[in-house]
């Protein structure tokens, strides 16, 4: 029986339990003469039903989960132990365990588990597998066949036992809940406690995600640093990962972070130089000058820019803006030298800047409107013009908040991927000419991880080291920015 069916049956048992429990509770409650009774029902019948549902399903499902994990671990350890008697070397033993694992899968797929159907030799099985479109490693040996067959049949047995026990648990839970129903049973409180735990569990997913991000990237990064010296990574100025075939000598490759970091920061800088004045002035104009009608048209238009996916900006850069800048520079120099390459820091920066305009303007809009009206009115009453009020009073007062907003924007710029993948180029070099191509951390993460790669080479692991660098960089900026913004808000509240 497949897992899906067992889960469905358990849920079905739960539903039936709900129905009967609610009915029983209702019957008990109906039997009470409310005028004279000393006891009145505590919970509504539906709560008795839910309690029965919970008792029938949750223990059974949890048991199923634990059982399947535990039986998997047990089978795995038996395979490892058996393989170890044939192959003493632990590294090749783990490889052989992997082969046994695949053999088990093939046996199950081809329905060859029972002893009378089991192929005599590994070579024979391999042939039959490849006829069915499955690939087995060529270094397998004959002793693996009975082992795999035993693993498969034991796995089947364990699964069957586990499913049977889970169903028994479900029935037991249902009947236990049913037998417990009394007038004064605090069914509602018990259900609510379970609900509360569910809510807490849902909120912990945010923590789990962060932990997952940190642990997974940390693990792979440590793995990477065991093969490449961290000093060469953090201070190397040459990026040349060399996608060499595994095993060929001298395929070390150089993983220097500096050119990528420089490109990332340079592009972010260009985009901020474009987005900050534009976004800030747009926010100021809309907040201080624009009439209600203008605002109601312009604000959603600028917010549209924020809703456009970054891949669209990337295509805009590649198809329209990049060629335009190239042709423009060609025309400026008289038609023979395009000093702006179509993939360049400049193009990527401008396009990213366009994407950041609404981010800057909405964040600084929040900050500016948080400045108390009394300060603005006071300044205007003293005879300052509006622009003087904004420049001399409001902006200085809002400065910490604006700095926080800019930090948040900069962290967006640093983590942006699709625009730079398409518009910035892949050449990792150090240059100060903004019209040449540079590359960024995110581009290299995508480059190293797309396509078919073996997983344990430094060429792929470096992506996790880059990712961790990016994560730490943006996390630091975000935490600091949120701290500044929060402090700033408290100041005026």
């Amino acid at each position: 029986m497949s897992v899906g069916w067992v889960v469905a049956i358990i849920l079905g048992i739960g539903a039936v339990a709900y129905f009967f429990a609610a009915q029983r509770a209702r019957a008990q409650a109906d039997g009470v003469n409310r005028a004279s009774a000393t006891e009145i029902p505590h919970s509504l019948p539906a709560y008795h039903g839910w309690l029965a549902f919970i008792l029938a399903t949750i223990p059974a499902l949890l048991f199923l989960l634990v059982w399947s994990i535990a039986s998997g671990v047990l089978l795995e350890s038996r395979v490892t132990a058996e393989v170890a008697t044939h192959i003493p070397d632990p590294a090749s033993a783990s490889l052989s365990s992997g082969i046994v694992h695949n053999v088990t899968e093939v046996l199950i797929r081809l329905d060859l588990v029972s002893p009378d159907k089991l192929p005599a030799t590994y070579a024979e099985l391999r042939e039959r597998a490849s006829a069915a479109g499955m690939v087995l490693a060529d270094s397998g040996e004959d002793y693996m066949l009975p082992l795999a067959a035993r693993t498969a049949s034991d796995g089947d047995l364990y699964r069957l036992i586990g499913q049977g026990l889970a169903l028994i648990f479900a029935l037991a839970g249902a009947s236990f809940a049913h037998s417990r129903i009394k007038l004064r049973l605090r069914a509602r409180n018990q259900v609510e406690r379970v609900v509360l735990w569910g809510l807490i569990g849902a909120s912990s997913i945010a923590i789990l995600t962060t932990v997952g991000i940190v642990l997974s990237m940390l693990g792979e990064t440590i793995h990477f640093f065991s093969e490449v010296n961290p000093i060469n990574f953090f201070f190397g100025t040459v990026w040349d990962p060399r996608f060499a075939a595994a095993g060929s000598g001298g395929s070390e490759g150089q993983f220097g972070l500096i050119p990528l970091l420089a490109g990332t920061l340079y592009i972010a800088l260009v985009s901020m130089l474009f987005a900050v004045p534009v976004g800030l002035m747009a926010a100021i104009y809309m907040g201080e000058y624009a009439s209600r009608r203008v605002r109601s048209v312009v604000k959603p238009l600028l917010e549209l820019l924020a809703g456009i996916p970054t891949i669209v900006y990337g295509i805009f850069a590649v198809v329209t803006l990049g060629p335009f800048f190239r042709d423009l520079s060609m025309a400026l120099t008289g038609g023979n030298f395009a000093f702006i390459q179509s993939q360049s820091v400049f193009t990527a920066g401008i396009v990213m800047g366009v994407m950041l305009i609404p981010v800057v303007s909405s964040l600084s809009d929040d900050v500016i409107t948080a400045v108390p009206g009394a300060m603005r009115d006071g300044s205007l009453a003293l005879g300052a013009t509006r622009s003087e009020t904004i420049r001399r009073v409001i902006l200085p007062a809002a400065l910490p908040g604006i700095v926080g907003a800019l930090l948040l924007t900069a962290s967006r710029a640093i983590g942006e991927t699709m625009i730079v993948v398409l518009a910035a180029g892949v050449a990792a070099r150090l240059t100060i000419n903004p019209f040449e191509a540079m590359t960024t951390i995110t581009v290299k993460i995508v480059n190293q991880l797309t396509g078919d790669l073996e997983f344990n080479s430094p060429q792929t692991l470096v992506a996790f080291a880059l990712g961790l660098t990016l994560f730490v960089l943006t996390l630091g900026m975000n935490i600091y920015a949120l701290y500044i913004v929060r402090k700033y808000r408290e100041q005026y509240e």
Binding site: R188, E192, L196, G198, L199, G201, A202, S203, I205, A206, I207, T209, T210, G212, I213, S216, M217, E220, V278, G279, M281, A282, Y285, M286, L301, L302, G307, I308, P309, T310, I311, V312, I315, F316, V319, T320, I357, P358, T385, R386, E388, L408, S411, R412, G415, T417, M418, V421, L422, I445, V446, L449, T450, G451, G467, F471, T474, L475, N478, L482
Partner: protein, 440 residues
């Protein structure tokens, strides 16, 4: 004396004037300039929006029509089933050389001698190789057509399609052009016969991946994106709402809740590509889920969308006035009953709006999907979320790497499809907000 007095009065009045205007002219000039900067900033923003949309639409709208050639095709028994063995060996019908049928049909319509090899080669480039499956389907559906002649509408090859749409630069020398002068003359001839038509390009929305532009479409990508959106909706909405309810209605202020809050705020600002790395390391490597599967993509996007939904839901819950809570508690509801029976229903429009906006962001997200192997050449529709598929933005990204002219047009066309979906979702969100949001 008089002179001096006059001068001094004049000087005095001048001095007074200058003391009174406080450089007013300059200040007003600054004011106007400042105002102008503001208008300029807004103009720049709106202008870029307009240029962006215009450049996409002007390049992409032609992708929605596809040049087709309708010619009488002779289903010659000699070419399809020479030895007349289709009754015993139906594979003949599948493996027959159908492109030759299409080529011959076009040649006949143009009055070209079938023996003229050079001309036939140029005609071969007229009809898409995708005509193979069109003709095969006609024959396998009804083998009786063999030996008859009937008009069939075939897809034109990508280069001819571009030529028909006027996208081939005729000033380029003939040998550097994808379409020869002879082919252009033939195209004109076919047009006069009324054989050329440009119907709406349904294939753009239904075909899977293909290396030939005219048979490449977004079908697989749309299904993959639909699976992912479904997974995000099914997982992120309940989890997000549950987390928000806990944080907003139950949680007491303690280090644990603070820690959750910090985590949610930070996750909302973590670069999306980091979620891709998480998916690769945890879902694919650790849990052994299949690469390129919409299931993994959906899980990654769920984690990415969760903070957005939580933040929106908390705002919606906060906007329900405390008096509702007090009233519910006052007539004897428990806290849980108060939340689920009174607060949550009132917050639903806000929650749904936030969820739709989160989904729209997830729909346009590309970077994390690249890392979990959604960049795949998938020609067949996935029937479950565990089979390989691509996603709409990833398909767009893959097409940008194709060099052919027809793919440039399709890239922009696909962007238009994506933007239409995003616009629909946002309009739905706005309508929901306008229609159901209550102000207290």
């Amino acid at each position: 004396m008089t002179d001096a007095a006059m001068t001094s009065t004049a000087m005095q009045s001048q001095a007074t004037a200058s003391r009174r205007d406080f450089g007013l002219k300059k200040r007003h000039r600054d004011e106007a300039l400042f105002r102008f900067y503001g208008i300029a900033a807004i103009t720049i923003g709106v202008a870029f929006l307009a240029i962006l949309l215009f450049s996409i639409v002007s390049k992409g709208y032609t992708a929605f029509v596809q040049t087709s050639i309708t010619v009488p095709v002779e289903f010659s028994a000699e070419l399809i089933d020479k030895d007349n063995e289709r009754a015993t060996n139906p594979r003949v019908l599948v493996s027959a050389n159908y492109p030759v049928l299409a080529r011959n049909a076009v040649a006949k319509a143009l009055g070209v001698d079938l023996a003229d090899r050079a001309a036939m080669r140029e005609i071969q480039a007229f009809v898409s190789d995708g005509s193979r499956s069109i003709l095969r389907e006609i024959v396998t559906a009804d083998p009786n057509v063999i030996g008859t002649t009937r008009p069939v509408t075939l897809l034109a090859a990508a280069d001819l399609d571009s030529a028909n749409k006027g996208q081939i630069d005729l000033r380029v020398a003939e040998q550097n052009r994808k379409v020869s002068d002879q082919q252009l003359r033939w195209l004109e001839q076919l047009k006069q016969q009324g054989a050329i038509s440009t119907p709406f390009n349904w294939g753009l929305l239904s075909f899977g991946a293909s290396s030939r532009p005219e048979t490449a479409g977004l079908g697989v990508a749309l299904i993959g994106s639909a699976y992912m959106m479904l997974i995000v909706l099914v997982l992120a909405l309940p989890i997000g709402v549950a987390a928000s309810i806990y944080l907003e209605e139950f949680a007491k202020k303690n280090p644990f809740t603070d820690f959750i809050e910090v985590n949610i705020n930070n996750l909302a600002a973590v670069p999306s590509i980091v979620f891709g790395l998480l998916g690769l390391a945890v879902f694919i490597n650790f849990f052994g889920m299949p690469r390129s599967a919409p299931l993994v993509g959906g899980l990654v996007l769920t984690l990415m969308t969760l903070p957005t939904i939580i933040i929106a839901t908390r705002a919606a819950l906060r906007s329900v006035p405390p008096s509702i809570r007090s009233a519910a508690l006052g007539i004897g509801a428990s806290r849980t009953q108060m939340v689920f029976d009174h607060v949550l229903p009132l917050a639903t429009p806000g929650i749904l709006t936030g969820t739709i906006i989160g989904l729209a962001r997830a729909l346009g997200e590309t970077a994390p999907l690249l890392l979990i192997g959604m960049v795949a050449f998938v020609a067949n529709y996935p029937s479950t979320p565990l089979e390989p598929a691509t996603a709409l933005p990833v398909q767009i990204f893959m097409w940008t790497n194709e060099a052919e002219r027809a793919f440039v047009e399709r890239t922009s066309g696909a962007v238009m499809v994506l933007l239409v979906f995003l616009a629909l979702m946002n309009i739905l969100a706005i309508v929901l907000r306008r229609r159901f949001e209550r102000r207290w």
